[in-house]
Symmetry: C2
Subunit: 150 residues, 2 copies
């Protein structure tokens, strides 16, 4: 049955465009992923320690500290965070909103994975990558699914 893989017929412009659009979208989602991860991490750290220090961000993200600095610079550029030299990093309102959204989505994804039988450890691990590709419609479906089984 051919319901899964679309024919990918290079002669059909519509199908080709649709296919290209999916990959394009996956690439876009990936570009967002870094923002989301750092935003949530900063939010986590502030909740627990009242501040988010570059060193801690870097260590928890598993990168060298200049990499974290660059990421924070991008967050600032995008209006998600603020910081002053040698002070911690803080989220703007937009950043806090994103963090909340990301945190909630992460929880739902992990819960769904566990609900369909994925071992919790794998669920936590895979969710880190999966969550960035879960659209709003898919997220809602996950919530319905989880809700429908208490």
């Amino acid at each position: 049955m051919m319901t899964h893989e679309p024919p990918a017929d290079p002669d059909d412009p519509a199908l080709a465009a649709a296919q290209a659009e999916r990959f394009s979208q996956a690439r876009t989602a990936q570009a967002q992923a870094l923002l989301e991860d750092y935003t949530e991490m900063i939010d986590d750290l502030i909740r627990e320690h009242g501040e988010a220090r570059i060193t801690d961000i870097a260590r928890l993200m598993g990168v060298a500290h200049p990499t974290a600095t660059k990421a924070v610079a991008r967050l600032k550029r995008e209006g998600l965070a603020v910081s002053r030299p040698y002070r911690g990093v803080f989220l703007t309102e937009a950043g806090a909103e994103m963090a909340e959204r990301v945190r909630s989505r992460h929880r739902v994804v992990v819960d769904l994975l566990i609900a369909v039988g994925v071992p919790p450890e794998s669920a936590e691990r895979d969710a880190e990558g999966i969550e960035h590709h879960v659209s709003d419609e898919t997220l809602m479906a996950f919530e319905r699914f989880l809700g429908g089984r208490g």
Copy 2:
């Protein structure tokens, strides 16, 4: 309840390492994603047209043709594909195996999304990004879940 988000306590080396490892792994998966996508695409084209041309690959992936050329160069470097100038691209045995694995995983992911209530269109769209982060354990869980409701 704290079962989802680990405390992310920067003072606990073990937790920090585990957290870092998850992000690290997500980054690795992302690096593999391009290989997987192109490999499957080439396999698709060969199945349908007997050959995979750079132009078609590029169009279906939604990129300019030199981008596809670069990707194929990487596939060749990694021993997944072969090609001669102005001839099509072909998969090595390793490439064909990867394509088969990726195709199968893609199908399972789409089926699972649909099974938990995601609209087919969204399922197809999101699966493109999600599949690359589905580990073997998670994949097996998906298959069990699908099997158990046949």
